[in-house]
Amino acid sequence: MKSLKRHWPALALLSPSLIVLAVFVYGFIGTNIQISLTDEQGLNADSNFIGFDNYLALLDDPRFHIDVWNTGVFSVAFIGVSLFLGLGLAILLDQKMKAEGFFRSIYLLPMAVSFIVTGVVWRWLMNPAEGSRMSGLNLLFDTLGLDFLVNQWHLTPTWGMLAIALPAVWQMSGYTMALFLAGLRSVPDEVKEAARMDGASELGIYWRIILPMIRPVALSAVVILGHISLKVFDLIIAIAGKQIALDVPAIYMWQTTFDAYNFARGATLATYILISVAVFVIPYLYFTTRKDKV
């Protein structure tokens, strides 16, 4: 059965996709890196190989420093809160609650809409205007007597990205919950029963037995949320447009490439984004697919 005869048709069927992906994924990554090592500007201009100069230049670029800070703040808040909320909601719904399906559907609903829609809507909610022009959530807080919650949202100096993380959490924590819930449901009832017989408390069962069992789910969630946060782009554009205070590498890359035609710098930023994602996605893919083989 292992003859080439058997494999020929299989390869033939697979090859169109393989060739296209080889070019559009790996080939383009290669081309992008190649461009990042030159001084290419604009479409047809001559370009010279300049080694890693672009990479070094960005390390000294104040705008890139803002980007790194913003991505860090956003990622920590977004991933942390989504995980915490997702796991909390999953455990809650796992308590044989009535109308579980209803709650679950509403929590997951934001996943169906785009980051652009989410951004447009939250821009309206997170209006930073003060005084008589106060609106959105600030107005709600003010009316409810929760004045201490009134804030500048994404205009808050240094920490503005925390306000961007809020709609991102709104959109993705339901998804995180669904991941954890699927994990919790895959733990056999006998395991819980046995622990109960041994006198473990409900909380103890989760903490010491179930959570360690669903660690792979948590890892998946971190990888998925992480790669979303490292390339966050449309959400910020929809909420705040292009402001330097809320800049991230993906926006810088877009502007410098398509507005300023600095292809070399754009390609360098893109490579930095790719590296930041690849350092945790590649080991993840390697270990997950290896386990699959069994």
Partner: protein
């Protein structure tokens, strides 16, 4: 039903249990509000007539329901919603079909190195698209497809292949190999076997795959904003432009946001089970 059976099934109701349950439901309702508040504000704002839109009263119910905003929003967004459908329908069908063929080969026709190839395909799912954007734009331009919908369809089909391959491969792993072997014994070739045996039992995977692609192509912004022009803008780009301009009123913006998300929300409401399955497949645990 005897009394003992009832007693056996129900836990004794203690005060502690009541308090616990109350707190649990309290939390569930609190987060229900968190997820619903934006939706409430969008709907309420979008239904208010122009003269009723004031910042101070944005949380109030509309005094009278007015769909004029929707008419205005439709005038601005209608063509791009049409574009989105022209984009999404062929894109989702093609990506799913190709993903199904790939999944079939990678699950039922494994060869040396096929698992490595599968991993290499999967990586395409996780790359930040910025990393291929510049060569992509150049290539689409050279193919003469820049600025139009066909080019964007092509791009979405290609970058949809990894997740589609994953969804179908996992689905076919659960299909017994004997089915394929029996067909081969009868003299069917690889493609005939696919077409007569595998394809007809793939409907659930197709629903999952097509819903996934429908949603992600509909919601995409990055490829669309880089590869299309005003005539071919899909709905996300058009909505962002409406919202970015200072002239469009909030209530029209909110009506536009509703229109822009209606198709995917309808899919979610009616086919939620399949939608969820696709999302979970995205975590590789499908």
């Amino acid at each position: 039903m005897s009394l003992e059976m009832v007693r056996e099934r129900k836990k004794p109701v203690t005060p502690g249990l009541v308090v616990g349950k109350t707190i649990q439901y309290g939390l569930l309702f609190f987060f229900l509000a968190f997820f619903l508040i934006p939706i409430y504000v969008v709907l309420v704002t979008s239904l208010k007539p122009l003269d009723q839109v004031s910042l101070q009263r944005m949380w109030e119910f509309p005094a009278a329901i007015d769909i004029a905003n929707y008419v205005l929003a439709w005038e601005k967004l209608g063509p791009s919603i049409g574009n989105s459908f022209l984009l999404v329908i062929p894109g989702a069908l093609l990506a799913a079909l190709l993903g199904s063929l790939n999944g079939y080969v990678l699950s039922k026709w494994k060869f040396r190195g096929s698992d490595l190839i599968f991993t290499l395909i999967l990586f395409g799912m996780f790359i930040p698209y910025q990393a291929i954007l510049i060569p992509l734009v150049q290539t689409v331009r050279e193919l003469g497809l820049y600025g139009g919908i066909p080019g964007l369809i092509l791009v979405h089909v290609i970058y949809g292949l990894p997740i589609m391959t994953l969804i179908f491969r996992n689905y076919y792993l659960a299909v017994p190999d004997e089915l394929v072997e029996a067909a081969l014994m009868d003299g069917s070739g690889i493609f005939k076997t696919y077409w007569q045996i595998i394809f007809p039992i793939s409907i659930p995977a197709f629903i999952v795959g097509i819903i996934w692609e429908f949603t992600s192509i509909w919601n995409d912004f990055l490829f669309a904003v880089v590869l299309t022009g005003p005539d071919s803008w899909p709905v996300t780009v058009a909505l962002n432009n409406i919202a970015g301009s200072q002239i469009v009123q909030w209530n029209v913006q909110m009506a536009a946001a509703v229109l822009a998300s209606l198709p995917t929300i309808i899919v979610y409401i009616f086919l939620g089970k399949y939608f969820l399955r696709g999302m979970l497949a995205g975590s590789l645990k499908g």
